[in-house]
C-alpha cells in the first residue's frame, strides 16, 4: 500500500547541521563519579522515593515508586550506593529544583536479577500497561509523556505512527538509533501497535536521513510496517504535523491523536519498549547527541542522571563556547547551569558559540509583511497575536487561537523585523493561565463562602429550634421536680454551653474550609493540558524576569503611549 503524502502549511528549512554528529556510531558514555537521578523525570511523570541514604542499589533496581495517574517508576541506572536524597537543580529553563536520588556507582554495573521477558500476548492489557509504567517508559522525543497513559484506552486506533522525523537541526540521536538498531525499534513498535490495537504501522523519517530510511526499510521488509521518507521541512517531526503528513488527519489543539484513530510514538520510545518487553530492562539510559562547537561531536548512550558537565567533557567543547543549548536550536533552551542531570527527555546538548549562533539582531517594528503567517505550520497569524500580546489584549489573542500555537519558532525564524514572536506568545499563554487560575480560585472561594453562609444560617436555625425544644423540655421537667430550684439558675448554663459548642464548631469549620480553598481548577483538565500548564508555569518564572527587564526597544515602546492600530 503506497500512501500519498500530505502537506502542512508553512514550515521552514533551517540549515540541518546533521553531519557534524551523525557520522560516528553511538558510543557508551563512561559512568560519572556521581549520578543524580530525579524522581520526577518531567513535570508529568512523578515517583516517590523507596530507597534510603546509604542503601546499596543494583542496576535496574527500582528506587522510585510511580505516583499518581501520570507517574512512572524510576530505577537505578547502575549499581552503587545511595549517598543522598536531596533537592537538586534540573535542566529546565527555570532551573527549578526536584527531589533526586544521588548514587555513587561502584563501577561493577551489577544488574538486579534480570526480569524475564514480558510476554504481552499472555498478559492482560492492564498488566502490560503496568509493566510499561513500572519500567519507567516515557516518550523519549522530548515531551516525556508517560507511555502507559498514551496507550490509553486501546480501542479505536487504526494507525500507529512511529516518529523518526527528527526535524530539529543538529540533533541526530534518533538518526543513529535507526541506523544501528532498526530491528529493535520495529520490534518495540510492533508491541506498541498490538497494545494499542492498531492495524497499521507507519514510520516517518525525514528524507535528509537516507541511511536511517534505508536501515528501517530493510528491517521492515516483509512486515506490514511501512517506512516513509517525508520531505525535510521543519517542524515535520511535530507530532501533529507528522500525523498530518502521513495520514492527512489534522488534530486540533486540545485533542489527542487517539480521538482521531492515530497515535504517535518516538522511535527512541519504541526502542525502550523493546528493551522493556523483550529484555525486561527498565529505562535507565538514552541516546544523547553532543554537537555544536566541539571537537568530538557524536551520539552517546548515557545513563540517566549523568551530570551534563561530566557528559560534555566527552565532546570537548571549544574554548569560544559561550553557552549550551539543551534540545535543538528551534525549541530548546540555553541551560542556566551545567550541574544538572541528563533526564529521559534530554535528546541533545549543543555547544553554542557566537559564530554558530549569532545573537539576534535588534528588534524592529512589525511591517506586517506576513512572512510569519506564511511560515506558521498551524496557520496562525503570528503578527496579529503579537499585536494582541503586546497590548495585553489576551481575549483577542485567544480568539485568534493563541493556544493552538505549538511554539515551534518558525515565525521568529523568518521575521525580517527580528521580533521574538514566540517569546510574546509564551508570555501571553502563561499570563492567561495565571489569570484563569486566579479567577477560578476566586470563583470557588466565593461559591464556598456563599454556601457556608447558607449552611451556617440553616444550622443556626436548626440549633435554635433544638435549643428551644430542649429548654422547653427542661422547664417542663423542672416544673415536675418542684419549685425548690429556680428555673432561671439552670436555664442560663443550658443556653451558654451549646453556644460555646457552636462557636467552636464554626471555628473548626472555618479552619477546614480555609485549608480546602486552594486553587483546584486543574482538577478536571486532561493530563496533557495539566502537563502543559506545569511546563508553562515553570517557563513563566523566567519570562516574568524577562518581562521585568525588557529589551531597549520594548522598554521604549512601553514608555511611549500604546499605539494600537485602528
Amino acid at each position: 500500500m503506497i500512501g500519498r503524502l500530505f502537506k502542512f502549511h508553512g514550515g521552514i528549512k533551517p540549515d540541518a547541521h546533521k553531519n557534524e554528529s551523525a557520522g560516528v556510531a553511538i558510543r557508551k558514555a563512561p559512568l560519572p563519579p556521581r549520578l543524580v537521578v530525579p524522581l520526577r523525570q518531567s513535570a508529568r511523570a512523578g515517583a516517590s522515593c523507596i530507597v534510603a541514604v546509604g542503601q546499596k542499589v543494583l542496576k535496574g533496581e527500582r528506587i522510585g515508586e510511580p505516583e499518581g495517574f501520570l507517574g512512572t517508576a524510576v530505577h537505578a541506572p547502575t549499581s552503587g550506593t545511595v549517598t543522598a536524597i536531596d533537592s537538586c537543580p534540573m535542566a529546565h529553563p527555570s532551573g527549578l529544583d526536584t527531589p533526586c536520588v544521588v548514587i555513587e556507582p561502584d563501577g561493577e554495573e551489577r544488574w538486579i536479577e534480570h526480569a524475564t521477558p514480558f510476554d504481552h500476548h499472555t498478559a492482560t492489557r492492564e498488566q502490560a500497561l503496568a509493566w510499561l509504567r513500572d519500567c519507567g517508559i516515557v516518550g523519549l522525543g522530548g515531551a516525556t509523556f508517560p507511555s502507559h497513559v498514551k496507550l490509553g484506552r486501546g480501542s479505536g486506533i487504526e494507525t500507529l505512527i512511529l516518529n523518526g522525523a527528527e526535524c530539529e537541526p543538529w540533533i541526530t540521536c534518533d538518526d543513529r538509533l535507526m541506523r544501528e538498531r532498526a530491528a529493535d525499534i520495529l520490534a518495540g513498535a510492533n508491541i506498541l501497535r498490538e497494545l494499542i490495537g492498531a492495524r497499521e504501522l507507519i514510520v516517518g523519517v525525514e528524507d535528509n536521513k537516507p541511511e536511517a530510511v534505508a536501515a528501517m526499510q530493510a528491517a521492515a521488509a516483509g512486515t506490514a510496517a511501512r517506512v516513509v521518507a517525508v520531505p525535510a521541512l521543519y517542524p515535520a517531526g511535530g507530532e501533529k504535523q507528522l500525523i498530518r503528513v502521513l495520514t492527512g488527519v489534522e488534530i486540533p489543539y486540545g485533542k489527542l491523536g487517539g480521538d482521531y484513530g492515530v497515535q504517535c510514538f518516538n522511535v527512541g520510545t519504541a526502542h525502550a519498549v523493546y528493551r522493556a518487553f523483550i529484555h525486561g530492562e527498565p529505562l535507565i539510559s538514552r541516546i544523547v547527541t553532543l554537537t555544536g562547537n566541539c571537537e568530538t561531536p557524536g551520539n552517546w548512550e548515557v545513563a540517566i542522571g549523568t551530570p551534563v558537565e561530566d557528559l560534555l567533557a566527552l565532546a570537548r567543547p571549544r574554548t569560544d563556547t559561550d553557552r549550551y543549548l539543551m534540545g535543538g536550536p528551534m525549541m530548546g533552551f540555553a541551560m542556566p547551569r551545567l550541574d544538572v542531570p541528563v533526564v529521559k527527555g534530554t535528546n541533545c546538548i549543543i555547544s553554542a558559540s557566537p559564530r554558530l549562533f549569532p545573537p539576534a539582531p535588534p528588534e524592529q517594528p512589525c511591517i506586517r509583511c506576513t512572512e510569519c503567517a506564511k511560515a506558521c505550520p498551524v496557520e496562525l497569524q503570528p503578527f496579529e497575536l503579537y499585536w494582541f500580546s503586546r497590548s495585553k489584549n489576551f481575549g483577542k489573542a485567544q480568539e485568534y487561537h493563541l493556544f493552538d500555537c505549538i511554539e515551534c519558532g518558525c515565525c521568529s525564524y523568518v521575521c525580517p523585523a527580528h521580533i521574538p514572536l514566540v517569546d510574546y506568545f509564551r508570555f501571553s499563554k502563561s499570563e492567561i493561565w495565571a489569570r484563569e487560575r486566579e479567577k477560578t480560585a476566586a470563583d470557588q472561594a466565593r461559591e464556598r463562602f456563599e454556601f457556608r453562609n447558607f449552611r451556617q444560617e440553616r444550622e443556626k436555625a436548626e440549633k435554635a429550634a433544638k435549643l428551644a425544644a430542649k429548654a422547653a423540655e427542661t422547664r417542663a421537667k423542672l416544673a415536675e421536680a418542684g419549685p425548690a430550684e429556680a428555673p432561671a439558675a439552670t436555664d442560663a448554663p443550658a443556653a451558654e454551653d451549646p453556644k460555646k459548642a457552636l462557636i467552636a464548631a464554626a471555628l473548626a469549620r472555618a479552619k477546614a474550609q480555609k485549608a480546602e480553598i486552594q486553587p483546584q481548577n486543574t482538577d478536571n483538565l486532561s493530563p496533557q493540558t495539566q502537563a502543559e500548564i506545569a511546563d508553562i508555569e515553570a517557563r513563566r518564572k523566567v519570562l516574568e524576569a524577562v518581562a521585568a527587564t525588557p529589551a531597549p526597544q520594548a522598554a521604549e515602546a512601553a514608555a511611549a503611549p500604546d499605539e494600537p492600530r485602528p
Binding site: 528551534m330 512589525c366 511591517i367 497569524q381 525580517p416
Partner: protein, 338 residues
Amino acid sequence: MIHSPYVRKPVSVQRTMGLVLLALVPGIVAHVVFVGAGVLVNLAISTLTAVAAEALMLRLRKRPVGIAVADLSAVVTAWLVTLCFPPIVPWWLTVCAVLVAIVAVKHLYGGLGQNPFNPAMIAYCSMIVAFPALMSQWPPAGQLSFDTQLSLILGGPRDIDGITGATALDALRTGLRSGVQTVDKVLEGSAFGALGGRGWEWVSIGYVAGGLFLLAMRIITWHMPVAFIGVLAAIAGLFWLVDPGHFASPLFHLASGGAMLAAFFIVTDPVSGATTPRGKLLFAGGIALIAWLIRNFGAYPEGIAFGVLLMNMCVPLLDMKTQPRVFGHRHDLEGGGK
C-alpha cells in the same frame, strides 16, 4: 536571557526595503530613457527630504535614529511619492508631499508599521487636491530637454500649453466628456503610443519587470497584483465590449497612469494593506474597481490613489472577516477530521 529559536533566517527589514528599491530601478531607467532624466532630480529631492524628516521625527519621538533610518523604509516611501507624481513638479511640491507622507501619515500614527494609510497615496491625494494644476502636468514622453525639466523642477516659469500635454487618461476623459468624440478618435492624437501614453508604456513595462522580481524574491505574494490587474482588466473589458465607443480597452487601462506601479508597488504595501490571502484579493480587487470607476465617472483622471485610501479603511474589517482557518479546525466548518 535569550530564548529559542536561536537561529534566524538572514533577513531584515532593510533587506526587504532594499529589494523593493532595486525592483523600482528598471522602471526608473525606462523613465529616464523614454520620458526624461528630470525624475532623477526629483528622486534626489524626495530621498533627502524623507531621510531628514525621518531622522527628525525619530529624534522628536525619542527613538533610536540610526537603525530606523537604515531600514530604508523612508526611502521607499520617497521614491514611490516621486514616481507617482508628474516628473516635472516643482521641488517644493515634492518636499511638501514627502513631509506629509513621513511626518503626518507615518510618524504621527506611530512610525513604521503603524500607519493605517498608504503614505505615498495620502501624499498624492492631498497634493492633487491642493495643487490640481501642477499635479496634472505630465510631460509628453521624450519631448522636454533635461534643462527644461530642471528649470521646471527648480520653479521656473511654466508655460503650460507649450511644455505639457495631457496624459492619455486626461485626454481621453476630456475628449469623451466633450461628447463629440469616441475613444478611437481621441486615441488618434499623437500623445498616445501603442498601448497607453507614448513612451510611458515602457515605464510600465519596467515596473512589471521589477514586480516580477519581487514575486520571485518572495517579497510580495501573487494575490494583490493578480487581483488588481484581473479586476481592472475584467471590468474595463466588460464595458469596452458592450460600448467600445465610450469605454477604453482593458489594455489601455492597464498601461495607463500608474496602474503597473500600483499593481506591484503601491497596492502591495504591507503595512497598510490586508494581510490574509483572501483579504489581499478583496483589497486589491476593490482598489481596481474604485480606480476604474473614478477614471470613468469621477472628478479626477486617476483614481488608484483614492481607491487605495478607501480600501485602507476597510483593512481591519477585511482581515477580521477573512482569517484563515487554523490547523485542525477545518472540521469546524466541514465536519470531518480529514
